[in-house]
Amino acid sequence: MTNTRPDPDALLQKLQSEEQREHRGRLKLFLGASAGVGKTYAMLSEAQQLLNRKVDVVIGVIETHGRAETERVSTGLPVIGQRPVEYRGVTLRELDIDAVLARRPSLVLVDELAHTNVPGSRHIKRWQDVDELLEAGISVYSALNIQHMESLNDVVAQITGVQVKETVPDAFVQKADEIELIDISPDELRERLREGKVYVPTQVDVALEGFFRKGNLIALRELALRTAADQVDTQMQLYRKDEGIRALWATRQRVLVCIAPNRLGGKVVRAAARIGKTVHSEMVALYVESDRQARRSDEERARAEEALRLAEEMGIETSRRTAHDIVGEILAFAASKNVSLIVVGKPIKQRWKEILHGSVVDELVRRSGDINVYVISDDAQDGPTRRRLPKLTPNTQDNPIDYVVSVTACIVATGLSALIYAHLPDANVVMLYLLGIALASYRTGIRPALACSILSVACYDFFFVKPRFQFSVSDAAYLPTFMVMLGAGLLIATLTQRLKAEANHSVARERRTSALYEVTRAMAKSRGRQEIADAAADRIRDDFHLDVAVMTPNERGRLTPLARSRSHFENDHTEWPVAQWAFDNGKLAGTTTDTLPSAKGFYIPLISGTTSQGVLGVKPLVEGEALDPSLQTLMQTFASGLAVALERAQLARESHRARLEAESEKLRNALLSSVSHDIRSPLTAIAGAASSLLEHRGDADVLAETIYKESQRLNRHVRNLLDMTRLESGTVKPNLDWNNVEELVGGALARSESVLSDHPIETELPPDLPLIRVDGPLIEQALVNLLENAGRHTPPGTHVLVAARIEGRNLALRVIDNGPGISEEIASHIFDKFESFDPTRQGFGLGLPIVRAILRIHEGEAKLEARTPGATFLLLIPLSNNPPEVPIV
């Protein structure tokens, strides 16, 4: 069934790209087949027209190559001065990207898109500068020759014999909103060249015979035309996709690029990109690392990473896997991604190696089933790397001690052999030597082990083969023995070395994995952003021996350090902007990247979902040491974990704040309703009674008493509100002084007398109670609140007991009644504010919260100890360590 409805993914993509386009500047490229076709001229002419139409256009970089007509057409256009850069004693000039960003023109002209910046610039390539300008919303006009396009790099090299180093990723070119092809015929171009309009005349002859051969120009022109046509086609397709006419490819079949760790990687990626574009398929790139990776040298792995990076730059989705069965993994991946075509490179191997190891490519072709396999062959016969012999052990350094060990193994084998030689057959001697070789290779490196093999053969010959103590051999039958012994020795040495390397590799990998796990766990356990960042910084420093900084943005988006391990490298005025750049652009920056690679640190933006949490910066602890490339990938993995953890903490903090706000909102509402009810009702009674009195109606005594009682009640409410506000504001510092418990109880009883008039009161105050260091009036108030509660919420006649005694390091003050008790439901939030359980609404429900607040500022505690039968409220007041001495006179 054909689905003509727009694919939701595609719709989303369209929305996103439109959104991006909205604040992204527009890019127009002037594309030419070669130098001299007039790209710069065309660009400047158009700029002049725009200037006439009052468009804010400026020149960022223009290369006139001394061409008079080009210079003429640039007059009158405002120019942003280029930035001088010192490099190896020469002052070079580069696009001043910060000046352009500060100036913010609508349009800037930046010539030579493929230009490579002087080392020490912000980006390696000029197209990255342009990208940043576009990102900042500034439109750019730029010029590009066809041979500088990444995917055409190889093709152009084949045509012209010149490998161009300066390339622009196809994906970037494709992002151009408009491409204008500047086309002149090859003959015309050669004519212009001859007239000296392109290069200074002295170079003309060389150029005409070399790059500007007619055949070259025709081929390049065709490429340029085709690229421009492709671009038009793509725009057409995009238009159709936008319009939802139909899906671009019904089944969304993909082209899979398999990247092998050989030097073909780049070529395969470029070729696949071309294929993908022609068949309008999505691309995926895959690198499968064998779990026998010990055999892979760092160099090989770096090559694979380079090819993957190239693929990413071309906008191809990449994936890295580890598997034992490489072909099986490739096919499984292909099946999951609906791949219809696999592109692989086939390096030329020595035939015997292919027979020995088998070929991944052959196996892939055999097992691929109905998936097509496109094999890119290795046609460069004379690459310098091919000649190099495969290194057996790339990473072991010979140690003189190792040779001593090898020789010793050999001597010991010889000695033991001498002991058994007379009694046992020859074969045993050979075995002893092989054992010696095996031990030597286990303990030492490859070269000492090989030395041991050769020495063993020599010793065997010299000491045990007749004629003995001579190197000459009487029986030719021993020659195969020597060969086999040497061969076996070499094999043992090589295999043992490989095993060792594999073991080391897996140990190293294991260590890193566990370190990563440790970091993740440390972060998961941490609460709060600071703690997470600290945990991360500590673990990275300890486990990976890196200097770390975690930087997060302040309200103005400037990075500030949240945690760091040792140095303050993020405060380094040369490093800090690199981190800031990484944060602002959401891209990697610093050493080993394309942006500001001269920086000491490697900066990874902490991106989680759509938010950027900050930047993780790492640099080797030892100044000047290079960062291990394998650590970078690990740090990136780690950075995404850190980003998620930081975001989680941020969300937690925000939700906590929201909850607090909701709670305070609830309190505010409760307060308002309380105030409106509890203040208005006594006021109503007072006003009513007073008006009756004024009119001389009713019983004056009753009315006066009402006024008096209600005003007392009002006074109590206001006092409670004031107390609560003061206590909650946190400004109340207890006015600590030595106080007598009996006196505090007495004061409280006196003050609550009127409420407790119908309640028999008892006290249990031991005579030996020490003085307590408290704020007397506050503790008295707490007691008054408890007593008044008891008086108000229990029926008349209920006994109330105030008891004090020492319990541990506290003074325990209890107010106990034998009333009906408190229901469980009420008991659970009896200390909450505005929870008045009194049906007659005698107060704000602030009495107990005030008690709790008072005890809290004394570092004590207030609780409902028992709720039935009868309520027991307990106040725990910490006792002072050093009660004062009072001389008794």
């Binding site: 006092r719 009996e742 006196a750 009072v886 006179v889």
Partner: protein
């Protein structure tokens, strides 16, 4: 009997009118001042017998007014404080104010304070009474003997001194600082623990129920008062 000249220094009109309306015309001659400056001028020109001084005046704080008045007059000063002015109140008492009232207060409380103050003023000119009696308590100053009902109680010298200071100021609040100064001496004015211990001992000797004292009452955070009926 001549009328008592009473000056109210208070900026709140409702409070002034409540006091004026409550006190009987035949007993009191009342003048009002709405700020400290007018009030002090009236003290000098009119020579009142009792001054009610609000601590929350717009032009000067109560402590300063008390200090200025005490420079030249012994007229009884009763300060009127609101919540939140506890320290001002204590400072004013330490500076020589006779007593205090906390808003809101009843007419009964006001009258009690005024009477005690007047009595002390009258007594100031006469020699001390040799015998003091309040409720079940009886003190013979000449023989330094104390009785609780019929039973004589034996007090230590400090206890006796403490009790006699309270008795001489009977009905009036005596601040912690004043008590410490009078009983132990000027060097002890911050050693409140002395006061806590001795007041407790004293209560145990003269009160019926020391946990619910009827004679020596505590004014939380301010001081003590020996009650007279």
């Amino acid at each position: 009997m001549s009328k008592v000249k009473l000056l109210i220094i208070e900026d709140e009109r409702p409070i002034r009118s409540f006091i004026k309306a409550s006190l009987r015309d035949d007993e009191f001659d009342i003048k009002e001042a709405v700020n400290a400056a007018d009030g002090m001028a009236l003290v000098a020109t009119w020579n009142p017998e009792v001054v009610l001084l609000d601590l929350g005046l717009p032009d000067k704080d109560g402590l300063e007014v008390t200090q200025l008045l005490r420079e030249w007059t012994q007229v009884p000063i009763i300060v009127i404080s609101a919540r939140g002015q506890e320290q001002d109140k204590i400072d004013a008492l330490d500076a020589g104010a006779d007593d205090y009232l906390t808003k809101p207060f009843s007419l009964g409380e006001l009258m009690a304070r005024v009477r005690v103050s007047l009595r002390h003023r009258q007594n100031a000119s006469k020699p001390d009474e040799p015998v003091f009696e309040a409720g079940t308590l009886k003190i013979d100053f000449a023989s330094r003997r104390v009785w609780k009902g019929q039973e004589e109680v034996h007090l230590t010298p400090i206890e006796y001194k403490l009790l006699s200071v309270l008795a001489r100021n009977a009905g009036r609040v005596v601040t912690h600082k004043q008590l410490l100064h009078e009983v132990w001496g000027p060097a002890y004015t911050t050693e409140s623990q002395y006061l806590r211990v001795y007041s407790a001992q004293l209560r145990h000797k003269i009160e019926l129920d020391p946990a619910r004292p009827k004679l020596i009452t505590t004014e939380a955070g301010v001081g003590y008062r020996l009650k007279v009926d």
